[in-house]
Point group: D2
């Protein structure tokens, strides 16, 4: 029935889908409803308003599309660009690779800026490209805020600064799939034109909503963008927004109620506290990795990700075996190394609705697995390092003071 | 919190989303899971196998795409056709209209065959077109099996007969959104090339899976189809089917477990019994409508739909008021009249996981509402007519004999 | 897995356990919690306060005991009486019979006042007994407010009047299992000393909480009551109430959260509206029974119950067969005739979180079953009679106006 | 709404109520049902059969009473004993104290054998009492298998040996509340006459079922036992067992379905594996305590409990502050020290549906809290000690090999 029952709770530490809070599971535990009744539009209105908060935008227009992150990518691109448009895109890991693959298949002229996996986007090359693009042939910059495959966070503020410095009108399209609602992300302040995430990431819902937010400039661009689109067309949404019924086709009411509950929890905790919690969990994880004597796949501190840590294993160990063993023996779900780093890294996702003791259980598990596969870890070392940091920094739970 | 709580259960009689059985709600009541663990592929494999049953195909290849019916349409079209391709499409109501709109926006050359709303697809015109298309310019026939807006079921067997008669190689693409798993649908026997439905219809799940099934001929066509597609591309799925991991991007594990439970229930009841139950509910509804002295929007018996009944109201009544009142006073959700029949019809959806007494409660409600809005119905008349039929035809519940 | 799955929802019309509203099911869908954390006492405090509302008392002290109605009975008796105490108790049906059986086994001196099943408590005999009891040998009057087996509601106001008239100090112990939160019940106004109900009745929760409310006089009596008791002892509760931890032993936190949600729904609907709804459903059911040409087991209108209707069947029909058939063919759960009225009556429970269309579905089902078993009912007749009344009386759902 | 939401999952490590497995939460997520339909008796029959497994009995008769552990105690005593009967009872901690209090209030003649808290039952004194009781005035031995307040497991095999050695016919009544389904418990082999537990303990359900199992000798004793009882009377159950309807009053169908799911999980894991898992978790916890330099409240290894560890804190620390802090800062629920050991111990419950990584998260949390309150713990030390043991002993999850 459940295929893989193991005693106790599964420890879910893949970088998405992530743990769903109990109140959200409860909110979604319901029969279907007529989405054309007055109730669903009334709730949708509050959702659209509150979703802006997690993008940190007041001027953006959000779309909650029944799709995945891949669909959200497609929505961002096809609504703002025309076939043949030149775009600059950064290849720094598996997910940026997949997005670039999509960009190429959608017939854009993709100017790929590649970095070694483990490094961030090469913004010097971006600077050069912008500097030399006097005729503004570059229509958009596409960048993942956080590359989930390598645990690299790019510096979006710098991207904006470069665009401003060169007074370049290119659109800034940001994949925030593993960042938004977990890392510091500022749509308005950084002049992001399209930002997107998926419900199963830091929002801590099931898969099923691709959240896409468009700046006024992006909306304007959508009027002339010639890419073929129907399901992903913002225009259909905008038409129904005006009508006040909001939905061009059937949404999942369960996910809408779930999103309502998820946003309520974020408001209760405070978005800045949510981000601080991710920062704490990220730092604790890195301290453990260091204590184990292992290397972070991320090559420089400036790119360290607070939502996922990709851990490099010694050459004599196959990281796939670590992930397999985690699941088979410890009921622990870790992320595989993907593509170029397959076998070389395993990943600890520490995003979404998660607390410190959950992470420490995971870290203790990783220590045992490392020993299982022949790495001479000192048991307890990573947990000790993480605890030393956490014990000084965990705040009281506000509602319990 | 729930926006619109009313005492007792909501009576959900829109033609989708429909009532979810309790065992399915239970199956989906769960935390997220790593979809790359061995468990999800193992379950996915059983789903793909069992989904074929509801399409009545052994040779088809199913895709369970995280999308809605609109997305399933787009998947069917873009994977099999190229821009500019001539397709024959039947306009008989709002949903066929929307599909045609999509076909046009996807740049196909749509040969629209229009019928009066309330009539089925004009197959005589199809015959003429096929007869005269010696060079096989028609690449596909697009037809909704059941037009949800008017309660009209088209005769797919005849479509197939015509294609065979004229030895025409056009693909047969069928929207089975409000038919598959409720009406008699035979993908292999009728030579359907792409059939599709949505999880929130007769499968009785939440919205979120667009089920698309492709014949070998459709798969072959997909190799040369030039329509731009990424998210909806079958090829990505096929690649992962071969790898045995099945998912090119993140599915909703909740919906997968829900689909597993839904299919198990269908197997337990027996697909033919499910279809017979829909036939019974459809007939009972039509008998009630007749007893009320009202007309079915569907103009001929051959087109009567067993999943939705569109009821014509007298000119002095606004059907919108009936739907509004149903919700505000009786906690009953009925379907609005759409577009051309707005204000003129209201719709009773009787598909999905539903039994006779649920329907009779709805019919009793409709009688009171009709009286509310000034129609001189004889209270009890529709229920009496439906009961007279049902009391003779309801079978024992097999598991309880 | 579910033993008896039938398509569609089960129509639950036994007079308890009753349908649980979706928001309550959701509220209980949760892991265990430490009941000694500050959270549970904080919630318990609100529950004890709000539970008084459903008893209509401001001076009573409620106890929420992890037990059933039978346990609540035992709690009421053993906390207020001593072995050998004379009590007057009314035997009018199966549940008063069971309570009397308990009273006797607990060694009270039970003065049974029997009525024909279908009649209410014989208050004339009570008057006589009170009139002649100059030495106040009667320590308590035990009476069911609503006898669930026969659908008879006793007149508690008259009982109080008699006690006052004869200035008799006997305690008034009331079984409100199938009345409280559904019928007009006024603990303070009617001078009820102990009132009790079970969570699975009109409160619309699962079984598991026996709610007992004690007047100051009952609490006083508990100080000298010599009946042996530990689990049911109010004193243990009172000790923990003072400590502010509230629970002498482990409660079900799921039921506490469920009760919180149930009370919130009652507040939202308004207790008087809840009672009015039950009155409407009771009347509608009786009109249907009359239209079918059948007799109510309840012999006089003054005793008609708005929570359960016991329907007498003609001698040539076995009512057990009606109940069996309801379940086997229609997925409808009706109440059996019990003990003296076994085979002679079937019962329609119309209490708890229920609305009119649910009832009408049930009534339509009963009509078909009556025909199944050979009773010459005119199909639709009962529904018509009920609808004629309901269509004039159902109010708008306040939150939807 | 949830009163005390904290980010991430609550870490529930009180020695009951314990964590409920997701499949069990799902199984209970349902509407009420008519418990007199054929479905509930059919399921009840399987439950009664399978419940024997967790008691390790083939000759016992189980009762699933809608009550708590306190009610189960009362049921065990009142069904087998008469007021004034002499019973030997061991006082070794708060829960044996409460049981003795109940025994005294039920008017038994309780011969209390007291031990220091932290020690097991003094079986030498039992031997003396049995040796000198030539006239068999002792009617029952009452003993807790596992004292939850101090983490002491008594040796039941020795109790049986003594009874056999002295050929003493006293009944052996065992409180297995925090042992059965977690520790090695053998009803038949050890000649236990009444064994009992509560659903919220190792069975990992919500509170609400008191499971009591009676040997043939205990059933025989119940025929002459004169203690007053109604709600807790086995005889009412036996009457309904014979009728095949099983329930003298309304059970919670949610708990029955939950128990079904819980038993299925135990069968899947294997009861011996469940017990081995508890042994592993108990040992790991004790190793951590030792590494922290703290003492176990349990004074000798022979009494070590594998379901709960009571940890003694240094005199300068208030253990209550540890529990408070755990909850307020770490979302961790620990057990308080009770009565004599209040302020002196805190308790880690490690029973029920729990796995190693969950425990390690808890242990890491305890380390931080110890530091918070001024105890000079070496962070990571306890986790390291536990991991060193666990890494060698955790088996593969059978369903995942």
């Amino acid at each position: 029935m459940d295929y893989v029952y193991g005693p106790g709770r599964n420890h879910l530490f893949v970088p998405g889908p992530v743990n769903i809070p109990e109140p959200v599971i409860r909110a979604m535990n319901r029969n279907n409803e007529d989405y054309r009744s007055p109730a669903i539009p009334a709730m949708t209105k509050t959702l659209l308003e509150d979703v802006k908060m997690i993008f940190k935008t007041t001027t953006g227009t959000p779309f909650m599309i029944p799709t995945t992150g891949t669909g959200a990518w497609e929505s961002a691109l096809t609504n703002t660009l025309s076939p043949g448009d030149r775009i600059v895109s950064f290849l720094i890991g598996q997910f940026s690779l997949l997005w670039i693959d999509q960009q190429q298949r959608l017939n854009f002229n993709v100017d790929v800026v590649e970095s070694e996996w483990g490094q961030g986007a090469n913004l010097e090359i971006l600077a050069e490209k912008l500097a030399s693009d006097h005729t503004h042939t570059i229509k958009a910059i596409c960048i993942v805020h956080n590359e989930t495959a390598t645990g690299v966070t790019n510096n979006l503020a710098t991207v904006r600064k470069l665009l401003d410095h060169y007074r370049h009108p290119a659109l800034l399209l940001v994949d925030g799939v593993s960042s938004i609602c977990a890392l510091d992300f500022r749509m308005d302040e950084w002049g992001v034109d399209v930002a997107l995430t998926g419900s199963q990431k830091a929002l801590s819902l099931p898969t099923g909503i691709g959240l896409v937010c468009a700046s006024p400039k992006a909306l304007e661009a959508s009027k002339s963008a010639k890419s073929v689109r129907v399901f992903f067309d913002w225009n259909d949404y905008l038409k129904f927004y005006k009508l006040g019924t909001f939905w061009p086709y059937t949404p999942s009411v369960q996910l809408l109620y779930g999103l309502r509950a998820a946003l309520d929890l974020i408001v209760e905790e405070g978005l800045d506290n949510v981000i601080a919690r991710h920062s704490r969990l990220g730092k604790a994880t890195r301290l453990a990795v260091e204590a184990w004597g292992l290397k972070n796949c991320t090559q420089k501190e400036e790119w360290y990700s607070d939502t996922v840590t990709a851990v490099l294993v010694p050459p004599y160990i196959d990281s796939t075996e670590i992930v397999r063993r985690a699941w088979k023996r410890y009921n622990l779900s870790l992320g595989l190394g993907l593509n170029k780093v397959a076998g070389k890294v395993f990943r600890i996702g520490h995003l979404g609705n998660l607390n410190e003791l959950q992470l420490l259980g995971c870290l203790a598990g990783v220590e045992m697995i490392l020993k299982d596969v022949g790495y001479p870890v000192k048991l307890g070392s990573g947990v000790a390092a993480a605890c030393a940091y956490l014990q000084n920094t965990i705040p009281m739970i506000p509602s319990r003071i």
